[in-house]
């Protein structure tokens, strides 16, 4: 054990500062909110006493300072959102119309570059494949599994098994799957599960992650593996929320399980299904960790978020990186609009 604990002390000190800052800010805010109104109340009391002694008319009671309270409650949130999110987002939009060093305006050149450079076109195609496949496949697996284990024995355990990858970081998951895809040349024993299966079926081992376009699909498998649990949990809750008498009535009518699924289950869980697909689409658009850890965007696997990171933080191309970020944002908007329209329909229907 050669671990030098003393070297770690500054970190704990910093953590402590952070916690002290937390207590000071939040405690201070609450204290302020307690003390100030009390002070006002006392002053008003004094005014009233003075007024009654001097016989002057009582001062009119002002409107309660609700707005002031709200301001203090909201102050930290509004401040942080303005500084950390709204301001930067506006600035990124501006930067996307400027050159690499953010000195000169270049108009739409960064966007032109995005849609003409073959490597970026490849990136956009990959992102499209991700956004189509991940929600579709993850939701299907989640739905099938949710239906299959519904009311089965050991349901809770069965669900936990699928749900567990949700707790694993994308980085950890990528390592887990890189190990599954690991490659050894033909003469050696395989250590990756996938190649072992291929070999035992009589095939030749492959360097899976180097083989475009197959590698993109193999990375998608990782995302599906993580997200199917999310789909399963939400859909399972929706299935359990279907009124029992509808199911019972259908059963009495002699409906087969297949019909039951398509005519009772599916229509009932449609809203939850839409929510899952929308959430997964947005999450998939922003996928970064998996691609970076598994292939670092090489071998034609890069996606928008990864390319944005490379452009802005590795190549110093602020303009092009910003343009990619803005494009990402633009892609999210139609999905959200679809979601909002759906919600409104539900509320009216």
């Amino acid at each position: 054990m050669e671990f030098d604990f003393a070297a770690e002390q500054p970190k704990f000190l910093m953590l402590m500062y952070g916690l002290i800052a937390f207590v000071a800010v939040v405690g201070g805010l609450l204290l302020l909110l307690d003390v100030v109104p009390a002070w006002f109340a006392r002053r008003r009391e004094a005014q009233l006493v003075a007024a009654s002694v001097s016989g002057a008319p009582l001062p009119r009671r002002g409107k309660p300072q609700e707005g002031l309270f709200a301001l203090f409650f909201l102050l930290p949130t509004l401040l942080l959102l303005a500084v950390g999110l709204v301001g930067p987002a506006i600035r990124t939009t501006l930067l996307s119309f400027m050159d690499a060093g953010s000195n000169n305006w270049v108009g739409l050149r960064n966007y032109g570059w995005m849609f003409s450079d073959p490597t970026i076109l490849r990136v956009l195609t990959n992102t499209l494949i991700w956004v189509i496949l991940v929600p579709l496949v993850a939701t299907s697996f989640g739905l099938i599994y949710a239906v299959l284990v519904d009311k089965a024995r050991l349901e809770a355990v069965a669900k936990s098994l699928i749900f567990l990858p949700m707790a694993i970081s994308f980085v950890g998951a990528s390592i887990i799957w890189k190990f599954v895809y690991a490659y050894r040349s033909e003469e050696q024993q395989q250590i990756g599960l996938l190649n072992q299966i291929v070999v035992s079926l009589g095939g030749e081992p492959k360097q899976w992650l180097l083989d475009s376009p197959l590698n993109t699909f193999l990375l998608i498998v990782i995302m599906v593996w993580i997200q199917a649990g999310f789909a399963m949990v939400v859909l399972s809750a929706a299935i359990k929320a279907i009124p029992a008498d509808i199911v019972e009535a259908a059963r009495l009518d002699g409906v087969s399980p297949w019909q039951m699924f398509w005519q009772i289950t599916m229509p009932s869980i449609r809203p939850a299904l839409i929510v899952v697909v929308v959430t997964l689409s947005i999450a998939t658009l922003k996928v970064f960790d998996i691609v970076r850890t598994a292939t670092n965007g090489n071998y034609d696997t890069s996606v928008i978020a990864n390319e944005m990171y490379n452009q802005a933080f590795r190549y110093g191309q602020n303009g092009q990186g910003s343009a990619l970020a803005v494009f990402l944002f633009v892609l999210v908007i139609p999905i959200v609009i679809y979601q909002i329209r759906n919600l409104r329909q539900q509320r009216e229907g």
Partner: protein, 320 residues
């Protein structure tokens, strides 16, 4: 659909007739259902099991034989963990140090948004002021802004401060080494707030209005109501968001990569692991053990608080 709409008497007959055959079919169906679900469950579990088993195997074994051979030739060691956590050489991982970084990043990054969002959500739900609904919608809408939109300017905000028309309005933060934790806390807090406010507002706005009314009549001020009535009632919601945020921050790579830098003073486990996977992609004895060091904390949190997590997930996604 055609068989589902017979007249009443034939329907009753059909049920009676189908019982025998139906039972067999049902048995068959449930058997295939069980089979398929077991296959899916195995497919979902095996990759993790493989990594877990491998992390305990000696280096030489991992690199030359598949982990499944362990069942015929069991050899286990804790060497990998020893090496990856406390090893001295720069290639060994030194994950103990990064583990502390992950902790130091995660704890404040959960607490700050939790407190700020609870305050804001209360104001948006129960204090009357003009433009309240618009403000809520605006914060709600911010959820869709990808954090990629904020990265470049926010990094510049930390490194050079804010200058408007040549006048330095805010100074640069100029942080070094472990002070950079503050940048990461700040970034995570900002990015978490829209969702946090939304989730907590969902809970807080559903508290009974009578309760608030009664407290107001008794002369309680808003801060008092917030502390003594609202906070105790929304603990499940706080727990739900806390777990969410904990998993998100602990597992995050992008924000840490940009705002914490790559050194062992501040970078969390995820950054170090991603780096190891890139530069030492074939050192499986380190990667397997390292991956598990990073997975174990969220796994414990997740398993012990799964109930709250699921509740938060459902409230956050289905109602939204």
């Amino acid at each position: 659909m055609t068989t589902a709409t017979p007249t009443v008497p034939t329907g009753a007959q059909a049920i009676r007739k189908s019982t025998a055959a139906g039972r067999v079919r049902k048995r068959l169906n449930s058997r295939t259902a069980t089979l398929v679900s077991i296959v899916i469950a195995i497919a979902w579990t095996v990759p993790t099991v493989g990594l877990f088993v491998s992390s305990f195997r000696p280096e030489n074994e991992i690199k030359t034989t598949g982990w499944w051979t362990v069942f015929s030739n069991p050899q286990f060691t804790l060497e990998n963990y020893q090496e990856v956590l406390f090893g001295r050489s720069s290639s060994s991982g030194q994950l103990a140090s990064y583990f502390i970084n992950s902790l130091a990043i995660t704890i404040p990054s959960v607490l700050f948004p939790l407190a700020f969002a609870a305050l804001a959500a209360y104001a948006l739900a129960w204090i009357n002021f003009r433009g309240r609904d618009w403000l809520y919608i605006a914060i709600f809408a911010l959820q869709i802004v990808p954090l990629q939109m904020a990265l470049v300017p926010l990094l510049r905000f930390f490194s050079t401060g804010v200058t408007i028309a040549g006048v330095q309005v805010l100074p640069a933060w100029d942080l070094v080494d472990e002070q950079k934790f503050a940048q990461v806390w700040f970034a995570h807090t900002c990015f978490a707030l829209p969702f946090a406010v939304f989730l907590l507002h969902n809970f807080i706005s559903q508290l009974p209005a009578d309760l608030m009314e009664a407290a107001r009549v008794d002369g309680a001020t808003h801060p008092r109501i917030f502390r003594t009535i609202v906070l105790p009632l929304i603990t499940p919601a706080l727990a739900a968001f806390g777990i969410f945020q904990f998993l998100w921050v602990w597992n995050d790579l992008l924000v840490a990569l940009i705002f914490a830098g790559g050194g062992n003073e501040t970078a969390p486990l995820t950054v170090r692991l991603a780096e190891m996977a890139g530069s030492r992609g074939n050192e499986w004895q380190r990667l397997t053990a390292g991956a598990f060091v990073s997975i174990v904390v969220p796994l414990i949190v997740f398993l012990s608080l799964q109930r709250y997590f699921v509740r938060g997930l459902l409230a956050g996604s289905v109602k939204g």
